[in-house]
Amino acid sequence: MTTSQSRLVLPLAALFVAFFVAPLIVLVALSLTADTAAWTAANYVKFFTDRFNYSILWDTLFLGLKATLVCLLFGYPIAWICAHASARWQSVLVFLVILPILTSVVVRTFAWIVILGRQGILNQVALGLGLTHEPLRLLYTEPGVIMVLAQVQMPLMVLPILTVLTKLDPNLADASHVLGAGEWRTLWRVTLPLSLPGVIAGCILTYSACVTAFVTQTLIGGARLIYMPLNIYQQAIGANNWPFAAAISVIFMLAVLAAVALLAMIGRKSETYGSA
């Protein structure tokens, strides 16, 4: 029965081989070609010898890190409050958390343009309170991009943490209290370490979504803040330099995979710690 049942993966596996694996192989192959030679690393050499290009890579990877940390700072408390709420409130809170992720990213980013613009609400409030004399520049700045990315991707952080927190045995926290630990100490020494697998899963999802968030990066960052996705798009469609764009894509994918693998490794360590 098991063998006949595993055959059910074949249709999707065939689709993935034909339309996911094969394109990626073609992408790698194209990145190793240039006008002059058939097989060459010239595109990669060009990328890493050009300060402009590799600074974009670092900016993108760090942008993801910063946005992920903001998500964690606000996302963990939401998940914790959700896990400690009554069933009814839990549904309401989860509904509010997933509402944004299901609303179109373009729409949510657009909303932020209305909020952050020169005549946006934030500037009206700041001017009205006399906090500033001229409109603050919030759009087209990195803090602006980080803030919007955090809002757009926050649900990806909250949901995995919530899953782990609701499965935690409440007796463990009680035991910690009985043994004299305060609430903060219990959070720090019991709940947080046990929920690390959820935190790591949330970080992986949030991070990979933030670095590749083309819409948010381009609309909030504008034309002067360039990150890897826009770089690929400009080289591929604007400059029509497909081999170089392919090389950038491969570098970007490998960098994201390396970051995810690093997080997953920390996650495996934390799991053994949690079960010990």
Partner: protein
């Protein structure tokens, strides 16, 4: 229960206060922009100001003449529909093969099918464009659907595998021992039990396809322009209030669909 010490009470209060404040800020932060967008779309004036100067439906009425926008919205609906149909059929079959299966092939497939969620989708979109080009085709709706299936099927797989692993295998054994065939058992036992997970996955796949930019950016052209790309270009070039009206419509439809999905499939339970 130990008698609460004095310091313990203070700690409990401070923890709840700090976490409550952070969560309240975060919830406001999560929901606020969508609400502001919705209210702004009802503005009576030419500019996107919040709070709006007077309320009206004029920009919604103006959408009736926005041919390009309507064509893009129609393309998006068609692509999202076919993407969902194929994702559900292929995804359910694959989920049945993967859940509870400890073989190496199943593990490899699981990782492979989930990887589009982690890999930069934009790089995949570009790879797909090169691939189609090398095969001698031009981008078209069927290729767009294929690209969307790859990035949307993980949502169906995730929720379906989760519900399948909670399914009591004794129920299937009971069905077999009572003479139910494989197909009958699937239709009468497995399918009704996994329907909520499947429904939630289908809903998520539909929304993901309807909202997809990174793949559509490369696989859609002027004829097959989809709504998110059209909106993205509109916002980049000229801030038209009609764009706000479309955004308002999208928010309203998303809310209605979410409430339906919550009612029918228990969406908030499926996503945890």
């Amino acid at each position: 229960m130990a008698a609460p010490k004095h310091s313990l009470d203070w700690e409990a209060i401070s923890l709840r206060l700090v976490f409550g404040a952070l969560a309240a800020v975060a919830i406001l932060f999560l929901v606020g922009p969508t609400l502001i967008m919705l209210l702004t779309s009802f503005t009576a004036s030419q500019s996107l100001k919040f709070p709006p100067d007077g309320l009206s439906l004029r920009w919604y009425v103006a959408l009736l003449d926005a041919d390009q926008m309507q064509a893009a919205a129609w393309n998006s609906l068609v692509v999202a529909f076919w993407t969902t149909v194929f994702s559900v059929v292929l995804g359910t079959a694959a989920a049945l093969g993967i859940a509870r299966n400890r073989s190496a092939l199943a593990r490899v497939c699981d990782v492979l099918f989930m990887s589009p969620l982690l890999l930069p989708a934009l790089a995949f979109g570009f790879a797909a464009l090169i691939y189609i080009h090398k095969l001698g085709f031009a981008p078209s709706i069927p290729f767009l659907v294929l690209g969307h299936i790859v990035v949307c099927v993980p949502f169906v797989l995730r929720t379906t595998i989760a519900t399948l692993s909670q399914l009591d295998p004794a129920l299937l054994d009971a069905s077999y021992s009572l003479g139910g065939g494989r197909l009958m058992t699937f239709r009468r036992v497995t399918l009704p039990l996994i329907a909520p997970g499947l429904g939630a996955g289908a809903f998520l796949a539909f929304m993901a396809s309807f909202d997809n930019v990174p793949v559509s950016l490369f696989l859609a052209d002027e004829r097959t322009e989809v709504l998110p790309i059209h909106l993205w270009q509109q916002i980049e070039t000229n801030l038209d209030v009609r764009t706000a009206a479309v955004s308002g419509l999208i928010v309203i439809f998303t809310l209605i669909l979410m409430l339906l999905a919550e009612r029918m499939a228990g969406l908030t339970r499926q996503m945890r």
